[in-house]
Structure formats: C-alpha cells, structure tokens
C-alpha cells in the first residue's frame, strides 16, 4: 500500500545531489531568516521594554490637549493639573488591566558642581514607582542592563527631603562626581572652592556628591536647588548619556515651582488590550467632561527611538527577505525545471496511464513540498544551533543610538518562524508550479519521446 506521497518521497532520492543543493539553499535561507528574525525580535523587544519600562513611557501616556507638541515651549498651559490627574486616576481605578500609574515631570535646566554647569534633561517620578519599574520582570528579561544601577542606590532608598537624584554616568563624569552620596563620610563638609582653575579644584569637586540644579521655573523666575548624587545610571540612549537626571517628582515640581505634571503614564498587565483600554479611558474621561490626549507607547511622537529604529530594521529585513526569496525561488525553479525535463518520458508514461495534467502537477508539487518541509526542518535545526552559539558567545553590540551596549542575542519568535516557513513553503510551491506548468501541458507523444516537437 502506498500513495502519491510515497512516490514523491522516493523521487527525492533520485537526484540526491541536486535535491541536496536545493534543500541546502532552502535550509540556509530559512536559518538566515530565523537568525535575522531572532535579531530583529530581540532588538524590538529591547526597544519596546526600554521605552515602556526603562524610559518610563508606559503603555499609554496621557498629555493635556496638544500637550505632546507644545509642553516643551509652553509647559504650564499644556501640562496636567491636579484636577486632571484626579479625574484620570478615578477612571483608571475602574479598569482592572491597569497595573501601574504615575505622573511624571519632564524638564530641562543647568546642573553644576560649583565650578562648571552643563545642561540636563530631567525626569521626575515617584521613587517607589521608579523602583517597581526598574524591578519589572519584563525589564529583567529583555533589558537586564537597564534594570541595574551602575553605582549607588535607587531614589526610593532615600527620603525625598535629601534631594537625592540619579545622574547619568556620562553626566557624572562631566561634572567630576565619581562618588555617590553613600560614599561620602558622615559629617563631611564640602569645601568652598574659590578658584576653579586651581590644580586641586577638580579633586575637591570630586570629594562630595553635591550638585546644584538651576532652571527657569514655570512662573518665569529663576529657581535653583541643591541635590545629592545618590547613584549613577545608564539611561540607555546615547543622546541622554551625558545629560539625563532622574529625580523624585516632588523635587522636579519644587524646582519648577508647580504642582502640575507634564504627562501621566499607565502600565498595563496585558498589553494586548491596549487599544481597548485606551478607548475605555477616553470614554471614561469624556463621561466626566475631561478631554486629554492619549497616546500608545509606540506613537512616533512618544517614542521616536523605537519607531525610527524599527522602521530602519524592517526596511532592512524586507530587503534581505526579498533577496532570500529570490534565491529560494531560483533554486527551486532551476531544480524543478531540470527534474521535469529529465523525467519527460515518465510524465508521458503517466499521462498515458490516465494521469491528468493537474495530477501530474500535484505529484511534482508533493515532491517540492516534501523537499521544502525537510529543508525547513533542517534549517530550523541550523537556526537553533546558530541561536544557541550566538546566545552563549557573550557578544556585545553597540547599535547606533543605544548607550552602554546591547548583548547580541537571537530570540526568534514562534510567529516569525511560522511566517518565514510559510513564506518559503509558498514560494517553493509557486516556483515548482511555474517550472512544471508549461512542461505538463506538452503533448503526450512529445513527452514520451522527450522532444519538443
């Protein structure tokens, strides 16, 4: 007892070298797609988790109407008031999928060490929320280096009255502040530096963790606060490596002399409900007569690093996938063409026995399907081996825009594997069909004689 699948399987053994070459092309193409897909998935997950948890954007970010576009130039009218926040919190309390929430304050100014002042980009956040986000399992899984503090302790370990802030590693270096607050001996009094050009000025600056932060408050007056560098951290992107500070929300509000916030972030338990939850929040706010702007985390204006990088990577993937697809198509087309030419007499014999054209086509498609499935299996094994080797190689990449490096890991997703396999499988069948179509249509006598008369 045997069927046409057995014929297909036996026929694969006929031209072993050719089928091996074709199968290798398919297998290597699939393995390459898996590796590439694994890399893209890794980078995408990293950027996603970075944006949502490390950059504290949240799954949904809420601004005052037109606040996203205008709060940097006109912060006060485009920020969220306490009343806005209270209404928002009331609405969020009715949505079970909301896991974490918190208002944040984004502001810029100058940070100095007594001798030198440089610009900073500051983010104010509830210290306990900051700790929860830093310890979030997603961050530990996909961006472990972003969950670690380079030196010192998190904001939540200090009372807010201390004025403790976290400073980007690069900024700490520029400010000559290698020590964090806990490294300064109790009772140490910072000396007054009278000559910043003196040879020991830099050393004196480095002896404490004190910095001064100055800015123009939202009321238009100059504002300055003393702060203690409690930790150094890596903000994750190069543009912030030398400028970022992270401070308690109350510190930033005090600095800018306001009780308002620039934006409010919402983290979800199940991100797949994002669109639904956004609608629920919008309708909840509307019911209470409040209009606010809601953005998903991957909105271009909210996370330009994620959207820009992924656009570039997807373009790259599309290009490489097209190249691989062409290679696969031509390999299979070439192989199938040679096979049908060699087996003309056999096709003629089978047509003589009563096989219809589509039944002959189906036999060749079954061969192509078997070869492709076996090759995909082999490609999957090769891809898995490559993934294991790369993931154990501890290779650190320095992709553009990402500070501190990113460990090269391949994380192929099941979805990517299935899409790649389906794509290759479909291409193999189409290429085979194209190769055999005209041949199967030939006259039976010509097929039997192997001529093109």
């Amino acid at each position: 007892m045997f069927g046409t699948w057995v014929i297909a399987a036996r026929n694969l053994l006929r031209n072993r070298k050719r089928n091996l070459a074709t199968g290798s092309a398919i297998a290597l193409g699939f393995a390459a797609m898996l590796a590439l897909g694994g890399y893209i998935n890794r980078v995408e997950k990293y950027l996603q988790v970075y944006t949502i948890y490390a950059n504290k954007t949240g799954h949904i970010v809420v601004y005052a109407p037109k606040g996203l576009e205008n709060y940097t130039s006109k912060p006060k009218p485009y920020s969220l008031s306490l009343a806005d926040q209270n209404v928002l919190k009331a609405v969020l309390n009715t949505i079970p999928n909301v896991q974490l929430t918190g208002g944040q304050f984004f502001g810029t100014g100058l940070i100095g060490n007594g001798c030198r002042s440089v610009p900073f980009i500051g983010n104010g956040i509830d210290p306990n929320l900051e700790k929860l986000l830093r310890d979030h399992p997603q961050l530990k899984e996909w961006a472990q280096n972003r969950s670690k503090i380079a030196k010192g302790k998190p904001l939540s370990d200090y009372h807010e009255s201390l004025g403790g802030i976290m400073v980007a590693k690069g900024l700490a270096r520029i400010l000559h502040k290698p020590k964090t607050y806990d490294e300064i001996p109790n009772g140490y009094t910072s000396p007054i530096i009278t000559d910043c050009l003196s040879p020991d000025a830099e050393k004196l600056v480095a002896e404490d963790a004190n910095v001064q932060i100055a800015t123009s408050s939202w009321n238009g007056s100059m504002s300055a606060l003393d702060a203690e560098v409690i930790s150094h951290y890596d903000p994750g992107v190069t543009e912030l490596a030398n400028t970022a500070i992270l401070a308690p929300l109350s510190f930033m509000q005090k600095l800018f002399d306001t009780d308002r916030i620039t934006h409010f972030s919402i983290w979800l338990r199940n991100p797949s409900q994002l669109a639904q939850n956004m609608e629920e929040i919008k309708s909840g706010l509307a019911a209470k007569g409040v209009q606010l702007d809601l953005y998903p985390w991957n909105h271009e204006g909210v996370s330009p690093l994620y959207t820009g990088t992924m656009q570039f990577l997807h373009t790259l993937v599309n290009f490489l996938t097209s190249v691989l697809a062409v290679v696969v198509i031509f390999s299979i087309f070439n192989s199938a063409t040679m096979t049908v030419i060699e087996r003309s007499a056999e096709i003629g014999m089978m047509r003589s026995l009563g096989y219809k054209k589509h039944q002959i086509s189906r036999l060749f498609l079954q061969e192509a399907a078997l070869l492709t499935l076996l090759s995909l299996f082999a490609g999957g094994l090769i891809g898995a081996t490559i993934t294991l080797i790369v993931n154990h190689a501890e290779i650190i990449l320095f992709p553009p825009g990402i500070s501190g490096g990113l460990r090269l890991e391949l994380k192929p997703s099941l979805e990517t594997c299935m899409i790649s396999a389906s794509l290759i499988f479909s291409l193999a069948l189409v290429a085979t069909m194209l190769a055999i179509r005209s041949h199967v249509k030939k006259r039976i006598v010509d097929l039997l004689m192997g001529t093109n008369r």
Binding site: F2, I7, R10, S352
Partner: protein
C-alpha cells in the same frame, strides 16, 4: 458500424511539421479492430505504425477523420475525458518499458490504479497481485526495476497495462529491446493473456519472426494500410 468493433478509424490523417515541411505520417487510414483480436501492425521504421497506435491510444490527436472507441467518437473529447478513458479502457506497453525506477514491481503496477477512485484499496491489492502473478513475477514483486532483466521489466509493464482491467492493450514495439528468445516469450505471454482475459491486443513491430504468432496482421507502409480489412 460494427457492434463487435472495439476500435474504428475512419479516414484518419496525421501530419508532422519537420521544420518548414509538413510530413504526412498517416494518409486516410480506415481500420476496424474487433474485440478480443490479437493484432500486429507491421511496418518499417517511419511507416506510421507508432503514430497509428498513438492515435488509437488517445495520446495524440488526428488532423482529420474520426476514431471510435467502443462505438463512441473520441477525437472530440476534452483532455480529462481522454485521460479517464486511457485509465479505465486502455493499457499501454512501451518499447523501453517506462517503469519508474524508484518504485518496486508492485508499486509500478499500482500506478494506474492509484488514480481510479472507483477501486477500493482491497480490490486494488488483489488486482495488482493477480496481474503480477499472471506475468509470472509473484516472487519479484518487491524488486526494483534495475534488479530485473529486460524480459522481466517488460512483464512488469504488461502487468501494469492489465491491472486496471482494460478492454484494449496497445504495445508499441514491445520486443524491440529484447533478445529473440525473450521476445517470443513476451509475445506468448501476451497471447496467453489475450486468451485468458479476452483483452484486445494491438502491437506494432518490425520483427517479421513474430508474424506466425498473431491472428491478424495489418501492414502499413508510408502511412497507408496495405490490408486494412480482416
């Protein structure tokens, strides 16, 4: 029209293009083959005997005239209908055996039955075994073609032609690749099956030594039958 005829050709013509030249292969063929006949078509190379068999076997189309299989006009049928008729009513035996090298004797014989949905798996198996037994290859049914002699391979081809229970078996120079002793054995086998199964056999040959074994001889020369009437 004879009700006893399995095949009738009426004024059938066929030409081939050879470059710019139109070469006539068959010129107004009229022929009737009765059911159960064992007929040899004799002619030199290029006389048109293979073309004649191809037209009878519905694997080529005539330029003119008509062909009746079992009293039904078949030249105007579409490709799928002709395929169905070939599968269920006609068996083919080729000069070069045309066995699938990766399939065993059993599997080669099974080929025409695989596409016949009316035949159950059990029926298929019994037909195959009977056909293999009829041609004397019972003990070799698991062998691959390259493990068989030329005569044995042609026996497999005969079994394959008979497995689906056709009314008509066409053999195009079935002994051309065989030695004289084996050729006689193959013709004897075909004669025996013709008698046993009442299947009509038509075969082409240019081997004059086989003439005394057949009940009817049709001579063809330059595309014209010399003795079409029985």
């Amino acid at each position: 029209m004879s009700s006893q005829a399995i095949i009738q050709l009426k004024n059938v013509t066929k030409s081939y293009h050879l470059g710019q030249t139109l070469v006539p292969a068959l010129r107004g063929i009229n022929l009737e083959i009765k059911k159960g006949e064992f007929t040899a078509i004799i002619g030199a190379s290029g006389s048109g005997k293979s073309t004649l068999l191809n037209l009878i076997g519905l694997i080529d189309d005539p330029d003119g005239g008509s062909i009746l299989l079992d009293n039904h006009e078949v030249t105007s049928l579409d490709d799928d209908r002709k395929s169905l008729l070939r599968n269920q009513k006609i068996g083919f035996i080729f000069q070069s055996f045309n066995l699938v090298p990766v399939l065993s004797v059993y599997e080669n014989v099974e080929l025409p039955l695989l596409i016949n949905p009316k035949i159950s798996a059990a029926d298929r198996r019994s037909r195959i075994l009977m056909a293999i037994e009829d041609v004397g290859l019972k003990d070799l049914k698991s062998n691959l073609p390259d493990q068989l002699s030329g005569g044995q391979r042609q026996r497999v081809a005969i079994a394959r032609a008979l497995a689906s229970g056709p009314d008509l078996v066409l053999a195009d120079e079935p002994t051309a690749n065989l030695d004289s002793t084996t050729s006689h054995l193959i013709i004897d086998l075909m004669l025996q099956l013709n008698a046993q199964r009442k299947v009509t056999f038509i075969f082409s040959t240019h081997d004059e030594r086989l003439m005394d074994r057949v009940s009817r001889i049709v001579h063809i020369k330059d595309g014209v039958l010399e003795n079409p009437a029985p």
